[in-house]
């Protein structure tokens, strides 16, 4: 790609959805088919661009690629003006998430056919606006720009929850709003402080500047960022907004929320927490590993006790994201690779589960386990997809979830055997609640008469899930290309961590092990 075209790619990916949203705004209110068609078409084009971006991306390089950099405006600073740039770029931390976002969007648009039956026009506008916001978050290389997109991505979900949500949508929206505001305020403090002290908003430049701050400043700014991202992920104990938001959101909202919105938090933790403040992240790593590991177990128990199918899957996200957080804060090569990969895996498997629950909800209008049982006899195709998605979520080797979980646990084990051992119980309890969910939904006799006449999945429903199913298999069988895309950037971050790491390795084991090094992990063949 030549320079001009490459400048266009990221801009086009981010703003084409906005263009579509504006176009839809000018359509007549009743032209629902046109609105849906426009949204689908544009999201497909963006998905194509996203895939092209992925293919052309060089994973070995740590530098941001396809950079767009335009001077925007100036802020007053203590040592003269601080130039704010419109700066986009994609690197190994963001590439998978960007592509996942673009690929997920047509799936989400297709999934709305039945469950979004009122105010279609508005819904599509919010949806596309959200895509622009999310992509902007992942692509921004300027702190102020990032903050702008961060806010932009949250507003649409608030409305999607509040307008198209379930019975308790106002409560859920309110809760989501409060948490979001709290997180945003915290981040704003961190942003202002950081920019004020360093005189720059450029993320790449900031990487070299943060080490010039005093230790306590680093700690405090790290804390403000980490806390606001932790709320977004959510990390224990900030998770209670998630279950309500997921449960009340329409299917499409849940899919996006689980698939990519939550990843804004984990992405931020890596990029801004660990990337900008390696020393503080290193100091905080035991705390976050612990929170991640406890989150794995806590989330699993939470899910186990649910009587609402959708809420169960929502709670499972707490458990799965515990893996992601634990893996990245192990600050080892395997842990962080697994963590970045697992962000995608969770998006795929949980996305699939939410889609499937949405499909059965559209038929029966209940999420209560008591109302189900024996669905496999009536809807065999649904059962096939559900069991597949469940197995992906449960981490069956040869499907995607296993690779991420294994690398995370291995990376964590090299840093802290204790938390790895706590985390590994997650593969037991994960099987407990997911298999229980599957059994109560699909197996046993059909006890509710209304279930006897359920229609099995139709062509649209099957085809919208197929891309995700293929990806689950693909990542499970050949994860290496996906992992390699992230390698350069991850190693660069870890080098920064290692530079501030005191030379000793932690471990529970009596003797230090021969091949174990600090962040390298073990060499395996």
């Amino acid at each position: 790609m030549d320079g001009r075209r490459s400048e266009l790619v990221l801009t086009a990916i981010t703003f084409l959805p906005l263009v579509a949203a504006i176009l839809i705004a000018f359509t007549p209110k009743k032209a629902e088919a046109l609105q849906r068609g426009l949204a689908l078409l544009m999201s497909l084009i963006v998905a194509g661009l996203g895939i092209a971006l992925y293919i052309g991306f060089d994973g070995a390089s740590a530098a941001a690629q396809q950079v767009v950099d335009v001077a925007w405006f100036n802020l007053p600073g203590k040592n003269g003006d601080i130039p704010v740039h419109f700066k986009f770029g994609v690197d190994g931390i963001s590439i998978l998430l960007v592509t996942l976002t673009t690929v997920l969007m047509p799936v989400v648009v297709l999934s709305t056919k039945v469950h979004i039956d009122k105010r279609v026009k508005e819904f599509m506008i919010w949806l596309l606006l959200m895509e622009t916001g999310i992509l902007g978050v992942f692509l921004s290389l300027d702190l102020i720009l990032f903050y702008f997109f961060w806010e932009l991505s949250l507003i649409p979900l608030y409305f999607i929850l509040g307008i198209w949500g379930g019975e308790r949508r106002l409560y859920a929206a309110m809760k989501f709003f409060l948490y979001t505001v709290a997180g945003s305020l915290l981040m704003m403090l961190g942003v202002i402080w950081l920019v004020w002290q360093t005189g720059s908003t450029d993320l790449v430049a900031l990487m070299d500047m943060t080490s010039g701050l005093t230790a306590s400043e680093q700690t405090w700014i790290f804390a403000s960022f980490a806390l606001s991202f932790a709320i977004k992920v959510p990390v224990l104990p900030f998770h209670t907004w998630l279950a309500d938001a997921h449960t009340e959101a329409p299917t499409s909202g849940s899919v996006l929320l689980a698939g990519v919105l939550l990843k804004m938090g984990t992405y931020g933790l890596i990029r801004f927490g660990i990337g900008l403040f390696p020393a503080a992240a290193l100091a905080a790593s035991p705390v976050f590993m612990a929170l991640g590991a406890i989150g794995i177990v806590y989330g699993a128990f939470l899910a186990w006790a649910q009587t609402d199918i959708k809420r169960l899957v929502a709670c499972s996200s707490v458990s799965h994201l515990g893996f992601v957080v634990m893996g990245m804060f192990a600050l080892t090569a395997e842990g962080m690779r697994g963590s970045v990969l697992q962000m995608i895996n969770h998006g795929l498997s949980t996305g699939l589960l939410f889609l499937l629950i949405g499909m059965i909800y559209e038929r029966r209008h209940t999420r209560d386990f008591e109302q189900y049982g024996g669905i496999a006899s009536v809807m065999p195709v649904f059962a096939l997809f559900f069991v597949f998605s469940m197995l992906s979520s449960v981490g069956l080797p040869s499907l995607n979830g296993f690779v991420g979980e294994y690398l995370i646990l291995l990376g964590t084990f090299n840093a802290s055997p204790l938390w790895a051992m706590v985390g590994v119980t997650g593969i037991i309890f994960g099987a407990v609640y997911l298999l229980m969910c599957t059994r109560r939904l699909l197996f046993g006799p059909v006890t509710v008469a209304a279930n006897n006449k359920l229609e099995d999945l139709n062509g649209r429903e099957i085809s919208l899930m197929l891309p995700l199913v293929v990806l689950c298999l693909w990542i499970g069988v050949a994860p290496t290309p996906f992992i390699n895309k992230t390698a350069g950037s991850i190693d660069a971050i870890l080098e920064r961590v290692d530079a501030v790491r005191p030379t000793q390795s932690a471990g529970l084991l009596p003797a230090s092990t021969p091949t174990q090094t600090s962040s390298e992990g073990a060499e395996v063949r």
């Binding site: 907004w241 790895a420 593969i427």
Partner: protein, 669 residues
């Protein structure tokens, strides 16, 4: 050495078969939807699945034929690797390997697998899920082949969890009944407990050896031992992997899933829960025998676990009324025997018993399936009796299996069991204790086997003759029975005891595999018993067989006396005489119910406490403190969400102004 790429075909054929059968299943469902009476293309599935198995079996034979043509030390076929996980610093390469050890298991899996596929074509005939059944069964074989052929521990783990998945699906095959689905879930979860140990064990191996390649790990142990370091980690790694084996191979304390697994169709019990999957743990230990040999403490621990398992499960089998229940506990008990062999370092004897057990236990399960089939799904032995007249072929072959299991002199089970016991005897010391428990279990085995035979085939016909008309099974089901019967009777030739001065084929064949472990554990060759002691032990085994088989049989049926109905009476007498003990045995020492009340229920309660008390009151309570303020402004929010963008814009605007104000204040300093 050139790569043998075709080895991938061995697991790939049943995988392909599985996919094809799956497609046939959905085509059948479609046809049935259009016309409820349509059969659809489902019946083709048995042909597809059997063809896949036959090709796989043929290729396995070819692989072994190629091995026999090589030098005994160089017997190895390997495919090019599949670069599964590569992260730059760590990579997992998986290739398909056929060496003396995996070749034996290949024959068992594809050979017995093929017989059970043939049998299933008859057994599952008419089942609405006929094609689905073969799809799962083929998938199982593919996963099992992956397990034994993989060059890497992580590739093995794909098969390890893959067979677990198929076991889950097949146990719950008749899921509409409810309880099979629960049994499948239990099997999966209990196996996952073992798998968690397995995963941590693999991390330790990565730290110790820097690889998950099985042959490199095996080769690296000796060097690590010499260096004198890391013996604790070696021990822990062996212990953790044994934890994984405990789950898959149903050892104490994780055996509780196997008896429940009998909810699956009987061919499944024969293939998965007797002949192949449950022996994976034994395979794992033999595959990594140098690692286990390096930790004698772990081996002794395995011995204690195995002895406890063999004894507890064996005694439980004595009191079961369910025909498949007896066989299930018997399988657990026999798996204990295999681990008893491993504990003594008798690697090849454990594999020997694995093979003979696969012959006779698959035979017994298939025979039981034939009985259940002929009895219209009746499994309670108290409602059988006298069946030898109605199903003579099943009876004759079942008898062969029973003789082998209970240790009739010189039959396969007798010889392989004797080898394990003799090895423990030869080791002496604490192994005398293990030997004693093994001998006691042999007595128990003879008892429950013949009790089972008597209750099922002898005595009065206790079923309702108006409703139940027992009939012999079709040829597709009896043919595998006869082949397996032949194997069960003659399988002992693979390992003729040393007193007969013949070559021990199996020990010889496995020599390249077991030598490293033997070198570490024994400094060379394992100890041998003198011929006199050997004879004495063989004699003891013979004595025990006759004494306890007689006891088990005579007490119940009074051979051939029609009109006698003493089998159930004997059970009732025992139950009346020792109600506590009898109930305890029937309930398998109440271990499962203890788990339920002491582990499962408290955990469920804990989940409830977390979800309701902790999450909703404590965590959410703090939040709701803040939300109280919000509740008051709920009215405003409602306006806001209805008012659309404008009012939210106001909020944002206010935020922006605040931001700017702060900024300016900062700039003014």
């Amino acid at each position: 050495m050139p790569h043998s790429q075709w080895l991938w075909m061995i697991p790939a054929m049943p995988l392909l078969g599985s996919i094809l059968c799956g497609i046939l299943h959905f085509m059948t469902l479609k046809a049935r939807k259009a016309n409820a009476d349509a059969t659809g293309p489902g019946p083709l599935a048995s042909l597809v699945a059997n063809a896949a198995m036959a090709v796989s079996f043929g290729l396995s034979c070819l692989a072994i034929y190629q091995l026999t043509g090589m030098d005994s030390a160089a017997r190895l076929l390997e495919s090019a690797p599949w670069h599964w996980i590569e992260t730059g610093k760590m990579s997992v390469d998986v290739s398909m390997v056929v060496d003396p050890l995996s070749s034996l298991l290949l024959l068992v899996i594809t050979g017995i697998g093929l017989l059970i596929h043939i049998y299933s074509a008859g057994y599952m005939k008419g089942d609405p899920g006929f094609a689905k059944f073969f799809s799962y069964l083929n998938l199982f074989v593919a996963a099992m082949l992956m397990l034994v052929m993989s060059s890497s521990l992580l590739g093995l783990f794909i098969g390890w969890e893959g067979v677990g998945l198929c076991s889950y699906l097949l146990i719950g095959f008749w899921y509409h009944k409810g309880w099979p689905a629960e049994a499948g879930q239990k099997a999966f979860v209990v196996n996952r407990i073992g798998d968690a140990f397995f995963v941590i064990g693999s991390f330790l191996l990565i730290q110790l050896f820097g690889t998950l390649d099985l042959s490199e790990i095996g080769a690296g142990v000796a060097g690590l031992l010499e260096s004198g370091e890391h013996s604790t980690q070696l021990m822990l790694a062996a212990l953790l992997l044994f934890g994984g084996a405990c789950g898959k191979s149903a050892q104490m304390p994780l055996f509780v899933w196997l008896p429940d697994a009998m909810a699956g169709p009987t061919p499944v019990s024969a293939l998965i829960h007797a002949a192949t999957m449950v022996t994976s743990g034994v395979y794992l230990v033999v595959r990594l025998n140098p690692l286990f040999a390096a930790s004698p403490g772990v081996l002794l621990f395995i011995g204690v676990v195995a002895a406890a398992t063999a004894f507890i499960a064996g005694t439980s089998a004595m009191a079961q009324r369910d025909l498949k229940g007896v066989l299930a506990y018997s399988t657990v008990s026999q798996l204990g025997y295999m681990f008893l062999g491993l504990a003594a370092g008798a690697w090849s004897s454990a594999i020997f018993h694995l093979i003979t057990h696969a012959f006779f236990k698959a035979l017994l399960f298939l025979g039981a399936g034939s009985v259940i089939h002929g009895m219209h799904e009746e499994q309670d032995m108290h409602k059988m009796g006298g069946l030898r007249r109605h199903m003579p072929k099943t009876f004759i072959t079942f008898l062969a299996g029973a003789l082998a299991l209970s240790g009739f002199p010189l039959l396969s089970g007798f010889i392989s069991k004797d080898e394990i016991l003799a090895m423990n005897f030869a080791r002496g010391g604490l192994h005398y204790g293990l030997w004693a428990v093994g001998v006691a279990t042999a007595a128990i085995t003879a008892f429950y086997t013949w009790r089972m035979v008597a209750l099922t085939f002898f005595g009065e016909e206790r079923f309702d003759k108006d409703k139940v008309h027992p009939h012999e099974s079709p040829f597709s089901m009896t043919l595998p029975l006869f082949i397996l019967a032949g194997l069960a009777l003659a399988g002992g030739v693979l390992g003729i005891p040393p007193v007969f001065h013949a070559t021990h084929i199996l020990e010889h064949w496995l020599e390249p595999i077991t030598a490293p472990g033997n070198a570490i554990l024994f400094g060379g060759h394992p100890p041998h018993l003198s011929h006199a002691v050997e004879w004495a032990l063989l004699g003891l085994g013979t004595l025990i067989f006759f004494a306890f088989a007689h006891l088990g049989f005579r007490g119940l049926a009074r051979i051939g006396l029609a009109g006698s109905n003493q089998g159930p009476q004997f059970d009732e007498q025992q139950a009346a005489k020792r109600p506590g003990l009898y109930g305890k045995l029937q309930d398998a020492w109440s271990i499962d119910s203890t788990y339920t009340s002491w582990i499962v229920q408290p955990l469920k309660l804990f989940a409830f406490v977390i979800a309701v008390v902790v999450d909703q009151f404590a965590v959410d309570g703090i939040v709701n403190g803040a939300a109280k303020v919000a509740r008051q402004s709920a009215e405003r929010l409602r306006k806001l969400s209805d008012g659309g963008v404008a009012s939210y814009g106001l909020w944002m605007g206010a935020g922006a102004i605040l931001l700017a104000a702060l900024w300016m204040a900062g700039g003014a300093n």
